[in-house]
């Protein structure tokens, strides 16, 4: 399949057309040059699918989902990707959705993305999913890449910071990390810092990859070969940096203003959730806590590791009311380290309650993004989930490293 070809995506859902989201699904597909199709199957298969699949359900549309998944796996329906979707908050559908995704993944090499919706589906997160799905279908050769080759640059335009990474022959030789102000200017600044550290000239760079919120603008400005959403890039970057490119993994990316939880298999994203609804689950909450405690953000983590979150009562995850709880605790004599620990615990607890409910947590759990450098965060996450949390080297540069790695696919092309 060439990069220009339309991607045929099987819609495996339990009635998205009844939930008011169908036009949004079609629109997202159209934007990434994909077409949603209903996989054809024999109606009589609905009578036998439960026992064939091994999952008995009450809803006929869920039987339809399983039968359509079978048609995809057996090749009756020829498609390039599968979008498995069901209503948010439906337990029965969630079980089927996860098992259907696993079934397709294990029995075919067709990429599959899973998604749960409400009628208020946000267009941006839906588009990111469709973009990730069509990327896996179109750019399998890129995602199979396990080593960076040549001299490439990755630029990650995040909501809070902009990162640049320069890689040569599978080694990081330059990095830049600046606050995002103007998307292009901040990227230029980060890129220049990385160039200086690497000791190379810009004209020697063989390929550039851009990712993050400002990826399209940067892609155009720097004439990038690869412009890619952050789910695909971060998944690849995380397993690459953690040295776990094969098998399952879970990636949690806590950025400055939003966060992502991604279920990854062989470096390819499966189910994922994107935050961005509440700043209480982001690095911004930690920044405000550090400011209130009168310490640098880089010191907050060290302080938190020494503290005990249970000594501080927090009544809210909210960035306003949560901080107020911390201030009250300080006023009542709580130690700064306990307040720092409570802030870290609050962030990971909210991620657990809002995002990890939809994503299977499979080890290794790789924590990336700027907040992963705050030591209290991996500790709090490990305590909460009862598993070891891996923070790979250069975890704050995840997107930039992932983009540089994937962009190296264009060096050989």
């Amino acid at each position: 399949m060439s990069e220009e070809d339309q991607v045929k995506v099987a819609l495996v859902s339990c009635g998205s057309e009844f939930a008011g989201v169908q036009s949004q699904l079609d629109s997202a597909a159209e934007q990434v040059n994909a077409k949603l199709v209903y996989p054809e199957m024999d109606i009589s298969s609905l009578d036998t699918i439960e026992m064939e699949f091994g999952l008995q359900v009450a809803s006929a549309d869920l039987k339809l989902m399983m039968a359509r998944a079978k048609a995809v796996v057996e090749g009756t329906a020829r498609v390039d990707g599968v979008f498995v979707t069901s209503c948010f908050r439906c337990a029965e559908a969630a079980i089927v959705r996860n098992e259907v995704r696993r079934y397709i993944h294990q029995n075919s090499d067709i990429p599959v993305i899973s998604y749960s919706f409400t009628e208020r589906t946000t267009a941006a997160t839906l588009l990111t999913r469709m973009e990730a799905l069509t990327t896996i279908a179109r750019r399998k050769h890129l995602l199979a890449r396990e080593k960076q080759t040549g001299l490439t640059v990755g630029l990650d335009s995040g909501s809070t910071t902009t990162k640049a990474a320069i890689m040569r022959d599978n080694e990081l030789i330059g990095e830049g990390w600046v606050p995002t102000v103007n998307v292009v200017e901040s990227a230029r600044k980060a890129y220049d810092i990385a160039l200086e550290q690497a000791g190379i000239k810009e004209e020697d760079v063989q390929a550039i990859g851009t990712t993050g919120y400002g990826r399209f603008l940067l892609g155009e400005h720097f004439n990038a070969q690869l412009v890619q959403e952050e789910i695909t890039v971060n998944s690849k970057g995380a397993v690459y940096l953690a040295g776990t490119q094969k098998g399952p993994a879970t990636v949690i990316d806590i950025g400055g203003m939003d966060n992502k939880a991604i279920s990854v298999e062989d470096g390819i994203p499966g189910m994922f959730t994107m935050g961005g609804i509440c700043a209480g689950a982001s690095g911004r909450f930690l920044e405000m806590t550090a400011k209130r405690l009168g310490v640098e953000i880089t010191e907050l983590g060290k302080l938190a590791v020494k503290g005990m979150q249970a000594k501080v009562e927090m009544n809210s995850y909210c960035i306003v009311f949560g901080i107020q709880s911390l201030v009250n605790s300080l006023a009542q004599g709580s130690a700064a380290q306990d307040v720092a620990a409570a802030a870290c615990h609050s962030v990971v607890e909210q991620i657990f309650e809002q995002q990890l409910q939809e994503v299977e947590v499979k080890e290794p759990l790789i924590l990336v993004g700027g907040s992963s450098l705050i030591e209290g965060i991996p500790k709090a996450l490990g305590d909460l989930l009862k598993i070891d949390v891996v923070v790979p080297p250069h975890s704050q540069l995840i997107g930039a490293v992932g983009a540089a790695l994937l962009a190296s696919g264009y060096v050989e092309d």
Partner: protein
């Protein structure tokens, strides 16, 4: 003439039987017809927009999945309008099917809860059961007022 709500809500056989006995079937096909022939809405295949699950809030709380509320935006008004109902349980998919078990549970509950005459039957799987099935439906429909209530 009595307005008779049916479950499964898209059963052509039930709908036809009710018409044959001189009553008005309340089936979801009519609602979907209205949706897809509404000029100015372009949300194929059913023209259900994000506004419709909000109409469904009249029948189910916001914590109930959007797909249930979207379906209830079609079915709920039919139950509101119903003067009698026929519910057929465990029907074959080809007899009629709404797809979503949670919607089905809520639909049947609201129908029973309305306090109207309701005939509940189990779907027949043999000739003898089939004859008994049609006989019970005809008896029920004959018992309903034939005169125009409006």
């Amino acid at each position: 003439m009595t307005k008779v709500f049916i479950y499964p809500t898209n059963s052509l056989i039930l709908s036809d039987l009710i018409e044959r006995f001189g009553h008005t079937p309340l089936a979801v096909m009519g609602e979907i017809h209205d949706k897809i022939t509404t000029i100015g809405i372009d949300s194929p295949p059913l023209n259900i927009t994000p506004e419709d699950p909000k109409h469904g809030l009249k029948y189910a709380a916001v914590e109930v999945p959007a797909g249930v509320r979207g379906r209830m935006s079609l079915i709920g008004p039919l139950i509101d309008e119903a003067e009698a109902a026929i519910i057929v349980d465990d029907a074959a998919i080809s007899f009629g099917c709404m797809g979503c078990a949670r919607t089905n549970e809520l639909t049947k509950f609201l129908t029973r809860d309305k306090g109207i005459p309701v005939l509940e039957l189990v779907y027949p799987y043999s000739d003898a059961e089939g004859k008994e099935f049609v006989y019970k439906i005809s008896e029920f429909l004959d018992s309903l007022p034939k005169e125009d209530r409006s």
